[in-house]
């Protein structure tokens, strides 16, 4: 599969000498991921090729950003209250990406400064909810805590030197979807720079859906709560009755 994609990428990436307006072609190793009960996370490979650059082009810089569906979340902070640890401070954050991974290529990592990343709107610090939180100390602290919690669960990742060039105009990176990712449409964006100047970008959609019996059950609990509750009760009464019958004989 990988070799196949590489061949494709190489084919698409054949440099065209005439026009020096670079364009970007990228592809994913999978376009849809199905989460079943045995899902233990999955690696997705992003391949990219640069077209339309000069024959001897080097020095391309690449950033790959994968962003999951946005959610509104509440972050709560526990504090000591009469010796007991209780939730005290809370902040609500709107439009928080459920998943955010940014991989940079080696030369990009070396050249770019945090300020430039903000300017390009790349990286966790440039996410709108983090920017909005910067006006207030408590919100800022809780936004940082949110990033910390997400990072711990490998849902937020920033890695330098993770996009590798296979040839001067062909690159690849691999990102990991952990087992507890939310479902939905994920956006995989590839940005191409040279000398910190933006040249081209491309976006792909990766859809993540649940499959398998236990996940259908989990969905039924949300979509059909009343029948689900009634089935629970029926199951409970049946189990109880069955146990009564079975153990009365013995």
């Amino acid at each position: 599969m990988k070799r196949h994609l590489l061949a494709l990428a190489l084919l698409l990436g054949l440099p065209i000498a005439a026009a020096h307006a670079e364009s970007l072609v990228s592809t994913l190793s999978d376009e849809a991921v199905s989460i079943t009960s045995s899902f233990a996370g999955e690696r997705i490979v992003v391949f990219g090729a640069i077209r339309g650059g000069p024959e001897d082009a080097t020095g391309y810089e690449v950033a790959v950003v994968v962003q999951g569906p946005e959610q509104d979340v509440i972050v709560r902070q526990k504090e000591r209250l009469l010796g007991v640890w209780a939730n005290r401070t809370a902040r609500e954050f709107k439009a928080v990406p459920s998943y955010y991974v940014m991989h940079l290529s080696e030369n990009f990592s070396a050249a770019v400064s945090p300020e430039q990343l903000l300017e390009y709107r790349l990286g966790l610090q440039s996410l709108p909810f983090v920017q909005e939180a910067n006006t207030e100390a408590t919100a800022e602290r809780l936004a940082e805590a949110l990033i910390g919690l997400k990072t711990q669960r490998a849902l937020y990742v920033e890695r330098e030197e993770e996009v590798r060039f296979l040839a001067p105009d062909v690159f690849r990176t691999t990102f990991f979807l952990p087992s507890d990712i939310p479902t939905g449409e994920y956006r995989v964006s590839v940005y191409l720079f040279r000398d910190e100047a933006f040249l081209a970008g491309s976006t792909q959609v990766l859809s993540i859906a649940k499959g398998g019996f236990s996940d259908q059950l989990a969905r039924a609990a949300i979509d059909f709560p009343l029948p689900y509750g009634l089935v629970c009760v029926a199951l409970a009464i049946f189990t109880g009755w069955l146990a009564g019958v079975v153990f009365r004989r013995t």
Binding site: V75, L217, A221, P225, Y228, C232, G240
Partner: protein
């Protein structure tokens, strides 16, 4: 998976041995094992339905259930558990559910545990001393002065419906928030407060628990969407099997000693929950998605 099957089995064993529902042990155990309190409470509820069904059926066959009283208790129970589920949701949305559950468990189990331990130690002391002076419940107390009296043929009682409905709704409320059937409050309350004859008390309490917890399960499923049917099934299977073996062991041990053991167990759970409240959590920040189940 086997952890929860085993947990259901262990709690079922204890509940069969001591003749209690086991919800008050199972819910904290699930929370200790990392299940979120909201899911633990809502999932133990159908488990209680299963365990009370098998026990209630055997009392039903022996005609040891006061149906009229059960209906009145359950009527209160439905209102109480609806209130409980509503309070559960409100507490959860302000982020204080976990704390309230923990505090209630400490207060509740601590109180019950101390009372039970004291009572059972006294009983042990009394048998050691060779006395059998057991004070029988007198036939009248303040409850019998209340209005709206109704006759209960099976219990051979003529009492007001007010304490019955209040009792049913109060225990239903607690049960829905804390994930327990409440048999261990209902039984003494029926005996000492309403003077229900002991032979119909357990059956009536079980039938009440069955009805109330069935309603609470449906309400938890619709209002909070936090019932995990697979987990509940594992707990049920473990529970009903464990209860059979527990009941056999329970018959071999003397009543007072059994109650003293149960009291110690209850106190141990209370202490463990209390300990959890005062130790610094690993993570002082927590995240919850708005409108989501987790």
């Amino acid at each position: 998976m086997f952890l929860f099957l085993g947990m259901g089995g262990a709690v079922g064993f204890l509940s069969g041995m001591f003749g209690v529902g086991g919800g008050f042990l199972l819910t904290p155990l699930l929370i200790f094992s990392g299940i979120s309190p909201a899911v633990a409470v809502a999932t133990v509820t159908p488990q209680i339905v299963a365990s009370s069904t098998s026990a209630a059926l055997s009392y039903w066959r022996r005609r040891l259930i006061d149906e009229k009283m059960t209906i009145l208790l359950a009527a209160g129970g439905v209102v109480g558990s609806a209130g409980g589920v509503f309070a559960f949701r409100a507490l959860r949305s302000v982020g204080q559910l976990d704390l309230i559950i923990a505090l209630s468990y400490v207060a509740f189990l601590g109180f019950i545990g101390v009372i039970m331990l004291r009572e059972s130690l006294r009983a042990i002391w009394r048998t050691r001393a060779g006395r059998t002076a057991r004070r029988g419940p007198s036939h009248h107390n303040w409850v019998h002065g209340l209005p709206f009296k109704v006759r209960f043929r099976r219990s051979k009682l003529y009492v007001s419906v007010v304490p019955i409905v209040v009792l049913g709704s109060g225990i239903g409320f607690l049960g829905a928030i804390l994930g327990l059937g409440g048999g261990f409050i209902m039984v003494p309350a029926l005996i000492y407060l309403l003077r229900v004859p002991t032979n119909v008390v357990i059956g009536t309490s079980l039938a009440y628990t069955l009805a109330t917890m069935a309603v609470a399960t449906v309400l938890h499923a619709t209002a909070n969407k936090s019932v995990d049917i697979m987990l509940a099934l594992l707990l049920m299977v473990g529970g009903v099997v464990g209860a059979q073996f527990g009941a056999q062991v329970g018959q071999a041990i003397r009543g007072e000693q059994l109650r003293a053991l149960l009291a110690l167990l209850v106190l141990a759970v209370a202490l463990r929950v209390l300990f959890g409240l005062f130790t610094r959590p690993d993570q002082i920040y927590s995240l919850s998605v708005m409108g989501g189940a987790t």
